[in-house]
Symmetry: C2
């Protein structure tokens, strides 16, 4: 009797455990997917160079001493080396004037050996970020932040698409997440991530950007919380890029939905007392309801770097063919 | 007894009638509002010229013999004359090559006497519409179709906004329709109307485009009808620009919602046997539920022409000040 009850208790525990396991969302491992993409890019680059083309080159520019910026750029440079893209980082003092920065960008625009230019944001307050983004030549604008590339994306034209939304698209494709005619919600309305994401999700797949034909709702800081929850609960795909810990909770998720977390927040881990990175999604709770979910870190982040490399190779190919270099 | 029942019957009829009347949506009379705007533009233009500035000039280009295009352009030219904008129409044969058209646009781009250039769409099939739109100089692009102006709108930058969505914004402002944090639905995803409309509705009002801070859902041909109805029923503002008679019906409208009909469809009036213009909204039914509604014709259409004039005056002012002409 005693044994039996223990036995049944253990059975019920294991059942509960099994049920929980089977309900768990599939993890979207951006790290491993981005590594596959990097290998592929490395192979494509070898083949390009084998045809007699120059090695594509990315020049990154950092103005000032922001530690995070330095770290981001360092990661990007390492990634370039890994796939065989030649790269250099130009470090300018925080005192650099806008005119000096514009002059450097102009020189890089004209330099036929430079395939891609990346000005790490943010720039110091005395420099207008938008003026700088627009100064980078549209064909070398590997971030896709130049107003012309933004317009081209909006118009379904072939151009350079910002790395993060392009990376999210690749993740959805990798897992065959259906977007055609589905309900998608983009939380946030930033110009570098959310808006291009909304355009890519909603536009026509027949054209050059191979967009995703979803019905898209753009939510933002002025969307009432109840409305945000209502839109999310009806969404097949949610992409959140706000920078607010715990913004997206379990009760806001339709069972089986795909949840893409672009948020990166540095918080103190109360257990260890150390700092850690988390997204905008309540990961541990939401993964029990969602069908697919990206972790933070290791989800969208690595894809952003991979798509920067993709954009640099794409830009180089176009410049080589326009100039009949090879 | 008999009299009394007749009396009560008449009372109940009149009550029903009164109730129906009070339920009727307020008509958004774009015709009269656009006339006010034209008067204002005419006054601003007089003042501009009085300061010694040249008279702004709009050059319209028509390629081929499309009757509708001729009519549209003729209306625009009349409107120019009315407010005092100098204008001319260049008519080119359908056989015009893309190179010839690009050469004309280049000449107009360089002509300091030309403030605005309008290439009436559609162009013949052998000419690439996008190449033409991008060829018009960004500062003279009074249609706002150039990729740079599209990018500027997306980035909340000061630029030229396509006339139709800008006209819709002016209508909403005229009737003090609250958009901040409200639910808006844009039905359609055209690049000249729907996408700029969605961007204007969802973006931040703090910046140069003075956008509307609404939560926006972009629906389109691949949005399932049930989902379209669901999104519309929750919308405070609906802007429909599809070209499908009777797409938006009474049951899809939240009581009191603002319904903006950009659709223009030519149908045969079964009563008279003649042709008439109708929108995408079932006007007679929807007006019984909506709070505000635009008629077709006489709603958005006249605003589009007024905003073209606004854009021409704006473009001229900027060119005069950039060149220190006056």
């Amino acid at each position: 009797m005693w044994r039996r009850s223990i036995g049944s208790l253990m059975v019920s525990i294991s059942r509960t455990y099994a049920a929980k396991e089977s309900n768990m969302a599939q993890l979207i491992d951006g790290k491993s997917i981005s590594q596959e993409i990097r290998k592929q890019l490395s192979q494509e680059l070898k083949e390009l160079v084998a045809t007699g083309c120059p090695v594509p080159h990315l020049t990154a520019v950092i103005v000032g001493d922001d530690e995070a910026s330095k770290k981001y750029v360092a990661n990007k440079m390492v990634a370039c080396q890994e796939v065989g893209i030649s790269s250099e980082t130009k470090r300018l003092p925080a005192s650099t004037t806008q005119e000096e920065l514009l002059q450097l960008i102009d020189d890089l625009n004209k330099d036929p050996l430079v395939s891609g230019i990346l000005v790490q944001l943010p720039v110091p307050d005395h420099i207008n970020e938008r003026t700088i983004c627009n100064a980078v030549h549209v064909e070398k604008d590997v971030d896709g932040f130049n107003e012309q590339n933004v317009g081209r994306l909006a118009l379904d034209m072939d151009g350079i698409i910002p790395a993060t939304p392009l990376g999210v698209k690749r993740l959805l494709e990798h897992f065959n997440i259906e977007t055609f005619g589905r309900n998608a919600v983009v939380v946030g309305r930033s110009k570098n991530v959310s808006l291009p994401m909304a355009i890519l999700l909603s536009s026509d797949g027949k054209y050059a950007t191979k967009a995703m034909d979803a019905t898209v709702t753009i939510c933002h800081r002025h969307t009432p919380p109840k409305e945000l929850a209502r839109y999310c609960r009806n969404a097949d795909i949610i992409v959140v890029a706000v920078g607010k810990v715990g913004l997206i909770t379990k009760d806001m998720i339709k069972p089986g939905a795909c949840v893409i977390d672009v948020g990166i927040n540095r918080i103190k881990d109360e257990k260890t007392g150390t700092f850690k990175l988390v997204g905008d999604v309540d990961f541990d709770e939401v993964r029990q309801v969602a069908g697919h979910i990206t972790p933070v870190p290791g989800g969208v982040g690595p894809m952003t770097v991979a798509m920067l490399l993709h954009n640099t190779l794409k830009a180089a190919r176009k410049q080589f063919s326009d100039r009949k270099t090879c």
